[in-house]
């Protein structure tokens, strides 16, 4: 086998187009995922058992089945029902693009909800009690204390989840979308150079994940800035108030 560099050079612009679609899918599904995960996680930490049942079942289903089956359920499964075909949703569910975004969003929401639940439960009790003591009601406490803290705690593991979603987005190629993997497959169908093109696609995925890791380092700093700032310890402060960490 001789390694063909020119075929990589010729098809690089196409691969970049694919990479753009991949990024788009990851971004929108991440957005949907976070928005859905918020209520799921809040229901999941509820004190009443029957409220926890729905998020528990949702998370169990989406974490226990392959993403491939979920995407087929939405893309092929929706067409089984006449009432969906006649409803206003059909123009959306007919498009592979929106099917992919919806499925990835639902899928990643289950994982994010579980991360968020862990983060909410690991917020020190004292902080919540302090918020109650100063008279905050639940929505205010959620907005000012619980969620900012939870996001800070879960940020590193959320970065991992985004990378897993980036890898999962390759499945969009199974429902005819030309994302990075799909584009690589169409190029190979024409040129028959599987090693060259698949490995270059792999390197592009690697670069994207490196960028995502960098982005999440920044986000982590932003959400946990109270731990870095001020960088110098204030003088003349009551020693009991100085945070030892």
């Amino acid at each position: 086998m001789n390694w063909d560099w020119t075929v990589i050079g010729q098809n690089l612009p196409k691969l970049m187009d694919g990479a753009l679609l991949t990024l788009e899918l990851v971004f929108f599904s991440g957005l949907i995922g976070v928005l859905l995960a918020l209520p799921l996680a809040l229901l999941r930490v509820s004190q009443t058992p029957w409220v926890r049942v729905f998020p528990y079942a949702y998370i169990f289903f989406f974490r226990g089945t392959p993403l491939l089956i979920q995407i087929f359920l939405v893309y092929y499964g929706a067409s089984q029902f006449e009432w969906i075909k006649e409803s206003a949703l059909w123009p959306i569910l007919r498009e592979p693009y929106w099917c992919a975004v919806i499925t990835f969003g639902l899928h990643t929401a289950a994982y994010i909800a579980e991360l968020l639940r862990g983060a909410i439960q690991s917020i020190p009790r004292g902080e919540i009690e302090a918020a109650k003591v100063v008279g905050m009601n639940y929505p205010l406490m959620l907005r000012r204390i619980i969620l900012p803290r939870a996001f800070g705690i879960m940020m590193p593991s959320y970065g991992n989840e985004v990378i897993l979603m980036l890898k999962g987005s390759a499945l969009a190629s199974t429902i005819t979308l030309l994302d990075l993997t799909g584009m690589a497959r169409t190029i190979i169908a024409r040129t028959y150079t599987p090693m060259e093109i698949f490995l270059s696609a792999g390197v592009i995925y690697l670069i994207i994940s490196a960028l995502i890791i960098g982005l999440f380092r920044l986000l982590e700093r932003y959400f946990n800035r109270h731990q870095h700032w001020p960088s110098e310890k204030p003088k003349n402060l009551d020693p009991q108030l100085i945070d030892k960490s």
């Binding site: 086998m1 169990f60 289903f61 226990g64 089945t65 392959p66 993403l67 491939l68 089956i69 979920q70 087929f72 359920l73 092929y76 499964g77 929706a78 067409s79 089984q80 029902f81 990378i163 980036l166 890898k167 999962g168 987005s169 390759a170 499945l171 190629s173 199974t174 993997t181 690589a184 497959r185 190979i188 599987p194 090693m195 698949f198 490995l199 696609a201 792999g202 995925y205 690697l206 994940s209 490196a210």
Partner: protein, 230 residues
């Protein structure tokens, strides 16, 4: 749920899925152990190899890996075979390609799990083994491995659940496992939702059983520690 007589197809598919997962687990554990040994070794070359293995494989989608192994391997194998004067078409069977791809992916994550487990074993135990005159392989087999096993089990369990779900990807290269058999049934009955939901239930069943099995294994591995924990 009416499966219209396609139930046996799903069961045969589930059986292939299970075989695929268990084979990949066995090979993947070997890859993981080798990778971890390379990563903690004193040779710089081995460390670099271990690091680039985990970096590349963990940054690459599993689907892409499956496709690369299946389509790429025949190009490589044919190039090698033509050196020996054999010019026929060669192709790995989807099952073999699937096992290779999934175990490479599993091995990369298992490498990290094993590495952190290896580092958790106190150095004194190794020194004690040396003092008793045990050889390196014997130390590994008698002292290190049984303990690594216990520490790594929760992490490996999660990886196995991921592996079980990743087996669905091998349907893309035409192995008759659960996902593809379901697609066949869908082709006949035109009822995609019913059948993919049924397949999803089979996967849920498989993951639930594995979770129960893992729980049992963890209890077994920790039997020496029961009650000793504070």
């Amino acid at each position: 749920m009416d499966l219209q007589g396609f139930g046996h197809l799903l069961i045969s598919g589930a059986w292939v899925t299970l075989q695929l997962a268990l084979c990949s687990l066995a090979v993947g554990l070997i890859f993981g152990l080798l990778g971890a040994t390379a990563k903690v070794s004193s040779s710089k070359l081995l460390r670099t190899m271990g690091n680039s293995y985990t970096l590349f494989v963990r940054g690459m989608p599993e689907l892409l890996l499956v496709l690369t192994i299946f389509f790429g391997s025949s190009a490589v194998l044919m190039a090698v075979a033509s050196q020996f004067g054999y010019d026929e078409y060669i192709e790995l069977s989807p099952f073999v390609a699937g096992v290779i791809a999934l175990s490479i992916a599993f091995g990369a994550y298992a490498t990290e799990v094993f590495r952190s487990a290896l580092q958790e074993i106190p150095k004194g135990q190794k020194e004690a083994a040396v003092a008793l005159g045990m050889s390196k392989t014997k130390t590994f087999r008698r002292v290190t491995l049984p303990q690594v096993w216990r520490i790594a089990l929760p992490g490996l369990g999660n990886l196995f659940l991921v592996l079980l779900k990743d087996t669905a990807l091998v349907s893309v290269i035409g192995l008759n496992e659960l996902m593809r058999q379901t697609a066949v049934a869908v082709g006949y009955t035109k009822e995609p939702f019913t059948f993919y939901l049924a397949a999803a239930c089979v996967y849920l069943l498989l993951t639930s059983i594995s979770m129960a099995g893992l729980h049992y294994l963890e209890r077994f591995a920790n039997r020496g520690y029961q009650g000793a924990r504070s």
